[in-house]
Point group: C2
Chain length 246, copies 2
DNA sequence: CGCAGCGTTGAGTAACCTCAATTAATGTGG
DNA sequence: CCACATTAATTGAGGTTACTCAACGCTGCG
């Protein structure tokens, strides 16, 4: 890759050797920070914290320390109420910002757990607030992220409140598809890192119902499933599954 | 009210004659702004915009102009998808901040409509962003509000994904009860400004199911209903309705 | 008064859940 | 690396919850 020409100036050189292509820095790119601001930002970050499969990133009730952006791996976020009911509120993949719900109370309201070996970059929330004030573009970008999370939650309510089982499953697959595509991965062939139980909990359905919905979509040849590997055979017809209301 | 003593200094005098006890200023109080900051803030506000019953505060797709705090009245916020499915995402009452989901895209993602004659105070979002940068306490308070909205949406997902019909209705009533109490109104005797249809849509249930749940809770003497007026007879037993799982 | 919209109630049905049996995948210790 | 144990996923049968459709009562308004 390297041509050996050592006179080559700095731009492409990674700023943090331990974290090339740092996910938190990548998260900031839409904010169009200057080189100085990027450095200022990156110096505050805690790069590449590793989490093993089943390890917690944070737990309900813990004091808010950091916000995280996922570097690699898949995480699962859930809330648990007084009676022990659990509800998965989201699955996060590389590039996603995690921990936003904690800024209201200063304590995490969710458990976030690794669905596979993962790494994240974190920033102390206090540092982040300070940078937000100094860098208006960053503040704006952060507000956009918070707003997106609210908008995402609203679509989720729509799904839970107004869709039948098969529509929810189709909409779940299409959502993953889009997010994989946005990250340069295949939109039609991917691996589900979570169990059917997790999917069911997330969609407000029982595991068996999810399984049956998969089987039915597969028998209609809209998708193909081999365990946790999914192929979307026809995005259009999968979308129609959701569209075709009366 | 005025004693006539013109030497009397300013503190208790309302800063905006057209909007005494302005709801947006009230919303800011937890941020502990200085008198100067309050004035700076209030000067940017658009006070007391009136909305009649059934009038829109904003519509899906409109450019984000202002954030609003409700002065009086009740509003209903809903999203509508491509297929025309509607989902009510919240009911707002005096003191609530409205419009947060729009900051992601710069366009409102929701319709917000008055359930009764209402008044709101608004601030241009650009002005608000500027003030946020100048006043760290305000920024922090705004972040808290965004975080609270996210946390609220998550509990809503829990309700939609993990509770049966009667639990949802009980939890809906208890939520209203708490919010009325927080505003100094009765926690046990209040008026429902929305239709059964609206409640059903919000809770992911049919109107008939809501009505049956009300009737059942009433026959168990946990609540009493006379049309849109509700009395919670036993808060504890209503909470148990939600608690008693397995 | 009569209409229109909202709310309640009943009967029948469809969607999803529960329980159970079976198979597939995953992990573990020898 | 295999045998075994464990967990995950599929599929079937039957039950329950909430939906659908319909009739009727209530309330408010022209």
């Amino acid at each position: 890759m390297n041509t050996g020409r050592s006179i080559d100036p700095s731009p492409p050189a990674p700023l943090w050797n331990d974290c090339p292509n740092c996910s938190f820095i990548a998260w900031c790119t839409p904010a169009n920070l200057t080189a100085h601001q990027v450095r200022q930002f990156g110096d505050r970050l805690e790069h590449r914290r590793l989490r093993k499969h089943h390890e917690y990133l944070h737990r309900i009730g813990a004091a808010l320390i950091s916000l995280y952006v996922i570097n690699s791996g898949f995480l699962r976020t859930s809330i648990t109420d007084d009676e022990g009911r659990e509800q998965i509120t989201g699955f996060s993949m590389p590039g996603d910002l995690v921990g936003m719900e904690a800024i209201a109370t200063g304590r995490y309201q969710c458990d976030t757990i690794a669905l596979e070996d993962s790494s994240v970059c974190g920033i102390a929330f206090a540092d982040f607030q300070k940078l937000n004030r100094d860098i208006p573009a960053l503040q704006h970008h952060f507000h956009r992220a918070l707003g997106s999370e609210i908008a995402r939650d609203h679509s989720m309510m729509m799904m839970l409140g107004a869709m039948c089982a098969e529509e929810r499953v189709a909409s779940f697959l299409l959502n993953l598809s889009q997010r994989f595509a946005a990250r340069g991965c295949s939109a039609t062939l991917f691996h589900l890192p979570m169990t059917r139980q997790d999917i069911g909990n997330y969609l407000g359905l029982e595991m068996e119902t999810v399984s049956r919905a998969f089987s039915h979509l597969a028998s209609s040849r809209l998708i193909a499933i081999h365990g946790k590997d999914v192929e979307i055979i026809s995005v259009e017809r999968l979308q129609q599954t959701i569209r075709n209301r009366e």
